[in-house]
Structure formats: C-alpha cells, structure tokens
C-alpha cells in the first residue's frame, strides 16, 4: 500500500492542532492546559476524587475525547504513539487535583508506565496523592499468568467509564481505585487488523500486511498479535475472537456482560455491525446475557483497518457506574 493521503498541516503540530479542535468542539466544556498538550474540564467539581487519563496520541478520540462530566477530569496527551512526558503528566495532575487525590488510568505500556510513575513520584513530593490503574485487557498480548505484560487496548473505555462514575460518586480515592481495579480485572479484549495505520510525521505505515491476510490479536500500535492468516468470513473471525476472550477470564454461562466493538480506524460501520451481530449470537449460544453494547471508534490507531471486541463481566456495582449518564466528545449517554 502507498503512503496514506491525509488532511494535515505541518505534521509536527498534529497534537496541538487536534487539541485546538477538541476544545473548539466542546463549546466551552474543555480547556487546554496553558499552551501545553493537555485537556482539562473547564468546570471541575470542587470536592471530588480526580480522574486523570492519558497516553500517546494517534488513538483519538482516546484519551482526550473522554474528558467530561462523569468521565475523566483531564488528559495529558503525548506525541503520536509516545507516552506524555512526566512534567506534562505532573502539571495535569496538579490542575485536576481537588485535594481528594487523583486516580490515574492508562494503558499498560512501558513508556506510559515509566512516565506516569515518574510523574506520580514528583506529585508525591508536591503533596498530591495518586493511585494508578493500568489497563491490560488485550488477551492476545501475553498468557494469563503474565497478565501484567498485556497491553491496554479498547478496554480503557470500560475502565474509564466505570472509574469516572465512581469518582463522581465516591469521596475516597481508595474506593474509586477499588472499583476501577474491579472494572479492569473483569475486562478482556482482542483485536484484528486488516491494514496498517501510519505515523503522520513519517508518513510511514506501522506495519505491512499482504493483500489477503489479516492479523488476529494485533495491538493498537500495530504490535504483532497471535496469528496472521488469510482473510475469511467475518463470522468465523468474530467467533474465534469472542471465544478466545471468553476462555480467558473465563466468562461462563449465566454471566452478564457489557460488549464493546471498537473500530481501529478505517473499518466501515457496516462491518462493525455485522461483527456485533455475530458477537451477540456467540454470547447467546454460550448462555451469556448482554447488558449493553457500544459500537464505535473509541480507541483507534490512525487509519488502521480492523476492530477489537471487548467484554466486561458485570456485577451490580459495575453496572451502576457503567450506566451513569456521561458526556464528552467521544461518548455521550443520558
């Protein structure tokens, strides 16, 4: 495939410019943190555990698109596919902290872990209390006994939604942390890639796939998955992915789940719905009931073609926070 054609200005400025667009679209709900690449809610609740999310850019609308009421309070945005720097994380932490501490939720990548950890250490010196939940939902990334080696992909969505709800209601950081950990621990995902996305600054695709091959389990930056194979029917692929996810937690008959089918970028809504249909069929066959389903572009990898399936096993507490109304660029529900 050739270099992708894109509507950009100077590619060095993409993160700055996309934040400008996000702030403009928010109609006053969001602001930029000084002249930095971080987004913060304009009106922060006075007395609330803060939720900070963030990571590298290029995955829009994740993360800055999830800043809003009952969601996150702020998001430092790194350059494309690069974790934000410690000082940016620290400054955003300081901006959102209301004295009740800050829960940080982000995807489990070496770069994010280290940069957020450094920020947390600096925050501690500055008297800001933080707790960290790293999302590691990608079952394709490592076996279950090395779950902390797994990467965070679209499961971020559920953890942020639940943590955002909990942070809006619970006054204690440890309590919010407990709920977010529960959401994380009950969430499993797997992706499939059909074609690569690219990095604006280089214009290069992050990987190459032959014309007729797909990669099951590929990560959100094009990290390799578990199998490269000839493309087959959507149903066969969706069933294989769903079954691998189900076996991992494991989910079992009688469980109630939330379903997320996430577009990695360039996949058509038609394909998303066809896969959603099959996921529901598989779940029904396995005796698993669906509490709610979200379908859309939540965590993308530029113009990568492909999608991921995420399931979160629910209990009453998770349902409560998942179902809370919320409003942000990427997600809005009454």
């Amino acid at each position: 495939m050739g270099k992708p054609k894109k509507l950009l200005n100077n590619p060095v400025n993409v993160v700055t410019e996309l934040i400008d667009g996000l702030v403009a679209a928010s109609g006053g709900d969001l602001r930029r943190l000084d002249d930095r690449n971080a987004v913060v809610r304009t009106k922060l609740a006075e007395d609330k555990v803060a939720l900070l999310i963030g990571g590298g850019s290029g995955h829009e609308p994740m993360f800055p698109g999830f800043v809003g009421p009952n969601l996150a309070d702020g998001a430092p945005c790194g350059e494309v596919f690069a974790a934000p720097t410690p000082d940016l994380v620290l400054d955003t932490l300081a901006a959102v902290d209301r004295g009740r501490g800050v829960l940080m939720v982000y995807g489990n990548y070496a770069g994010d872990n280290m940069n957020f950890d450094i920020a947390a250490e600096l925050a501690e010196e500055a008297g800001i209390v933080t707790r960290t939940v790293r999302v590691w939902d990608d079952v394709a990334a490592a076996p279950l006994d090395r779950i902390t080696d797994r990467r965070g992909i679209a499961g971020d969505f559920f953890v942020i939604k639940v943590a955002g709800g909990a942070a809006a209601e619970l006054k204690d950081l440890d309590d919010v942390y407990r709920v977010a950990v529960k959401a994380r621990d009950n969430t499993r995902s797997m992706g499939v890639a059909l074609a690569a996305g690219s990095i604006p600054e280089t214009g290069e695709r992050t990987f190459e796939l032959p014309e007729d091959e797909i990669e099951i389990g590929m990560g959100a930056h094009g990290e390799p998955g578990i199998a490269r194979r000839k493309i087959t029917d959507a149903d066969a692929i969706a069933e294989e992915m769903t079954d691998r996810i189900l076996a991992d937690l494991p989910f079992s008959s009688g469980d109630e789940v939330a379903v997320l089918v996430n577009n990695l970028g360039a996949t058509t809504c038609m394909e998303m719905l066809i896969v959603t249909r099959k996921v529901h069929q598989v779940l029904a066959q396995r005796g698993i009931s669906v509490h709610r389903t979200d379908v859309g572009s939540f965590l993308t990898c530029q113009e990568m073609a492909g999608l991921s399936i995420t399931l979160m096993k629910l209990d009453d507490e998770l349902k409560r926070y998942l179902d809370m109304p919320a409003h942000s660029f990427a997600y809005s529900r009454s």
Binding site: I199, T206, G219
Partner: protein, 210 residues
C-alpha cells in the same frame, strides 16, 4: 584527544551527541518500524533537539550540571519509553560527577554504571530482554575494566561493547516494550533503544578521541 573534559567541553560533547542522534533519526525510526511502533527516531529527535537547545542555554558550572540538564531536556521533550529511559540514564548517570570538577576515566565509567542502575530501577528490565540495557550494561562493564587506561580507552571500549550489545540484541526475543509480543519475529532485528545507546557512545568517543 582528551584525557579529561572540562565542564564546558562536556557540554560541547553533549551538543555533538545531540547532533549525531538527530542526524540518524530516520535510521532509528526504521529500526523501530521493524519491531516496534515506528516512532523511536522522531522521539529521539524531539529529545535531542532539546538537548542541543539546553546545552546552548546551560552555564557549564560543573560536569554534573550539564549532564543533568541534558537528562532533564530528554525527559521533558522525548515522551514514550525512550524519554523516560534516556532521561533517567543521563539524570541518574550525572550523579557520578557530583564530586568531580572534570570528566575523567573513572567519572565516565561511573556515569554508565549509575545510569544503568537508574534505568534498571525505572523500567525493571533485565539484560537479555532486548532493550537499550543490552548495549548499556556491556558498555558500563567494559568502561570499568578500562579505567586504568584512561578516558580515551574507557570510552572506546564502552563504544565497542555497546556495538557488540546491539549485535547481540538481534538474537534476543523481546520480552518488554512494544516488541514483546513479536516473539520470534523480533529475531534478526536490533533493538532501537540499544542502537541509540550505541550512537550516543559513538559520538562521545568521537569527541574525546578526536
């Protein structure tokens, strides 16, 4: 040929390091495309352009000051794993110069050893996991062994060892970072961060041995 470097010379050397990295960003990106997410070069350009600016703006009060300023610039501008790792390497490594007025053989070896300690603490990776540690650890060991032979030998041996380390990463299966799920597919490709580590030492050697 320098047996020691003054703080001002150390600063000039770090500027040269920065230029050397910036001159090689396309190659670094290509290396990361093979086994990572293809952004290592552009990240290093952000970080080491900042190092060049920081060096221009830093009073060479001491060797430690200029190394720490370099590390701070890297940490503040690179982002990603590389920002934390190379930022930590320079900042932790700079403490080896705390008691020194010039950069000498012992100080240089100490820089690599302390830098390695900092990196291992920060990222919890071990040698053999296909990271920059696989260039830095042999470089630190080689530099310590060469202290008695003076600064030029220390940096020359360190650079050689780092290059050997880069070669060795080709035979490693990544178990950390974005390459870790590649498994055997990461074989045959060097680790991008190890390549950067080797470039940094190369530029230092070129300055010191010149």
């Amino acid at each position: 040929m320098h047996d020691t470097l003054t703080p001002a010379e150390a600063r000039d050397m770090l500027s040269a390091v920065a230029r050397h990295i910036v001159a090689n960003v396309d190659m670094l990106t290509q290396v990361d495309q093979a086994i990572g997410d293809g952004d290592h070069g552009i990240g290093m350009r952000r970080g080491f352009s900042a190092v060049e600016e920081a060096m221009a703006a830093t009073e060479p009060v001491s060797v430690a000051t200029v190394f720490k300023a370099a590390g701070t610039a890297i940490m503040a501008k690179t982002g990603g794993a590389a920002g934390a790792i190379f930022g930590t390497m320079f900042r932790s490594g700079s403490t080896a110069f705390d008691e020194r007025t010039v950069l000498d053989a012992e100080g240089f070896a100490g820089f690599l050893v302390k830098g390695l300690e900092g990196v291992e603490k920060r990222g919890a990776a071990q040698p053999g996991q296909k990271t920059m540690i696989d260039a830095l650890a042999p470089a630190a060991a080689a530099s310590e062994a060469a202290i008695a032979r003076g600064l030029v030998d220390v940096v020359t041996e360190a650079t050689k060892a780092a290059k050997g380390g880069v070669e060795a990463t080709k035979d490693m299966i990544a178990t950390t970072g974005k390459a870790r799920t590649l498994g055997e597919r990461s074989l045959g490709h060097p680790d991008p961060g190890a390549v950067s580590m080797s470039l940094i030492l190369e530029a230092m050697r070129d300055y010191i041995a010149a």
